[in-house]
Symmetry: C2
Subunit: 383 residues, 2 copies
């Protein structure tokens, strides 16, 4: 299958591109390389050294014999998007190419506006390109579980049947997103739903949980193929960040009480889910929503898990610090999200193991000289 990976230089996009290429799909990457600029803006870098996209792709060609053409450009520029679609004629587009950090979107007004315009316009352009150039192409769009917020009822997969005053309907699940970033994904979801209905586009919205882990079969093959991993207060996410903090003798920073419960998955399951969605596409006109995660944990639980593994396996005594929560969110709440649709399609989950935590701590110890401790504290405030 001809699969276009938008955002193929990023944390999820790069390993997905390699995985699908390895599995015999014809893969191309679109990326503006802006993620690397954000590192410079924030004075940070990936814990692991990462090669340039050109070098990565050249090395992949040597390693696997597979070509992965790259298109460098911004999805906000429609003539660029048009050229990519006309040339590559994708059968599926996996759309990772958005600003994906909640704290980044909350830095200030400029970052909020940038995040929403970048994400919404890029996504609208992809929708128009599908409509006008490759109408049968399946859009596989990365959403986030954060679109739902933390309602006091079970979170369903995109839709909910509501009985109300003696009548009933199945309606889009109500959204209560956590940040201007999460809001941008809610805006995207609504735009895509409308495009499916009006234009007969086929789309799958993957409301992904927090992704942890780093290594996949392909990225571990050689240093030039390594994936990025972020530990900073803006792009670093829980679990990955905790492991790096433990490895570098930094306290594990939990925001507030830590009772915030979120959905998580291993990056290897991201790759599986994307391929499952691609091979079993949505129907024309269908807007399909999957909750893409495998387990839920509270932040405190995760910190304690890392603390225990660090002590047992590395003899590291990691402290857990509760910082003033920079975010506006409930710190104790009900959380139960349904996630059966990807399992029904064949997902074989990699549940969180101590071994994975060991591997992350190990990796962090190997690259500890690359860590800038000044950027670990949260720098964006929700208030």
């Amino acid at each position: 299958m001809r699969i276009l990976i938008a955002g193929g230089d990023g944390f999820c996009g790069w390993p997905t591109a390699l995985h699908l290429s390895k599995r015999g799909h014809e893969v191309a990457i679109v990326d503006s390389l802006i993620r690397r600029q954000w590192d410079e803006e924030l004075g940070t870098q990936s814990l692991t050294p990462i090669a340039s996209l050109e070098d990565r792709v050249a090395l992949w060609r040597e390693t696997s014999g597979k070509e992965v053409p790259i298109y460098i450009g911004d999805l906000q520029e429609y003539p660029f998007v048009e050229r990519v679609f006309r040339e590559f004629q994708p059968e599926a587009v996996v759309h990772f190419a958005e600003q994906r950090s909640a704290p980044y979107s909350m830095i200030d007004r400029e970052h909020a506006v940038f995040t929403q315009v970048n994400n919404v316009v890029g996504n609208l352009n992809v929708l128009y390109a599908i409509k006008d150039i490759t109408p049968d192409c399946h859009l596989i769009k990365l959403g986030t579980m954060g679109e739902y917020g933390t309602p006091n009822i079970d979170i369903e997969e995109g839709y909910i049947r509501i009985q109300h005053k003696g009548r009933e309907d199945v309606l889009p699940y109500p959204k209560q997103p956590f940040s201007f970033y999460h809001l941008s994904k809610v805006h995207d979801s609504h735009n895509i739903m409308f495009a499916c209905k009006s234009w007969g586009i086929r789309a799958t919205d993957l409301n992904q949980g927090v992704v942890y882990g780093l290594w996949t079969d392909e990225t571990r093959l050689s240093e030039g193929l390594y994936n990025r991993i972020d530990y900073d207060g803006v792009f670093g996410t829980a679990l990955n960040r905790f492991c790096i903090q433990a490895a570098t003798g930094h306290p594990l920073t939990v925001y507030g009480k830590g009772g915030q419960t979120r959905a998580f998955l291993d990056i290897r399951d991201t790759l599986q889910c994307i391929e499952l969605a691609a091979l079993q596409p949505a129907e024309r006109g269908e807007f399909r929503v999957f909750n893409q995660f495998t387990e839920q944990f509270s932040i405190q639980e995760l910190a304690e898990r890392v603390q225990r593994v660090a002590a047992e396996r590395f003899d590291i005594q990691a402290e857990i610090t509760h910082l003033d929560n920079p975010r506006v969110e409930k710190e104790e709440h009900y959380y139960h999200a349904v996630h059966t649709k990807l399992l029904d399609l064949g997902l074989q989950p990699h549940l969180l193991s101590d071994e994975l935590i060991v591997e992350l701590i190990d990796t962090a110890m190997r690259y500890r000289e690359r860590v800038n401790f000044d950027v670990i504290a949260p720098s964006a405030n929700w208030r």
Copy 2:
């Protein structure tokens, strides 16, 4: 009260500004005047002649003795927004300043992107200005009943109590908007809800129905104060357009079967609702949603009503034509929307009367030489 009217040169904004000024409020207008450019883009103009904003305001000063300062600029430009908020220090902002036509947003990709960026960024800038400059200021934001779509259950005012798997919560009412324009308002609503929660802003989202009518006590005082009225396929809305079509011997154009049911209100009730919301503001941190309409009608019903009045009162035999529906929408559906909150605040509705239709037809006959018949047919297609 110091009230800023964003979009104060438009169809709803101008009469609202005059009404509030007349009622003793200190009113200022912000407008980019872009609505007048869209007329040029589309080769149309208001049925009624309208004076320039400068002349309107000068005439209002002569007529009423009241000053209404004007700020000409674009809400997308934050330095401009900042200056307006610092100088005027509004206690309430009535935000009409958005691209408000569904067909305009559906013309093509450029118009879709323009509509969403213009509306979302302008609104984000207003939210940041309130947060940073006038945190106690009440945002009165114009939404639309079209945010809800046509669910098969009753439409509530912004929120719905949902029982699900033995638990319950009150959640934002699910949205199924009809166009990229309606989607932009849904995006705004989500952004405002978040800003209220995070920053403690006070906001009222007015999900307004289709506004009909033209004259208010203030705009009818003299030709220089006249309000605009649109009859073209892009900005003209049902009822107003039907009256103008009847007056000019044009068939009344119903899209599809005409079973589409929508919520309507008289423009004089828009003015009342705005003042009621301003005088009884939302609490700090509250995101309040009112459904702002007084009656619901199907499009076919309205066309028949105009047809009957035209025959009885003007001896005009207006034909009703069913055009292929350019929109993707249900043409027969359940529709029942709750709208009690503004009544509770004191709204005294002007229900649709034959007299109002007579007055609209009369006005249209007076200005029929201004009508360009080439722009009445729908020009944007949803498919």
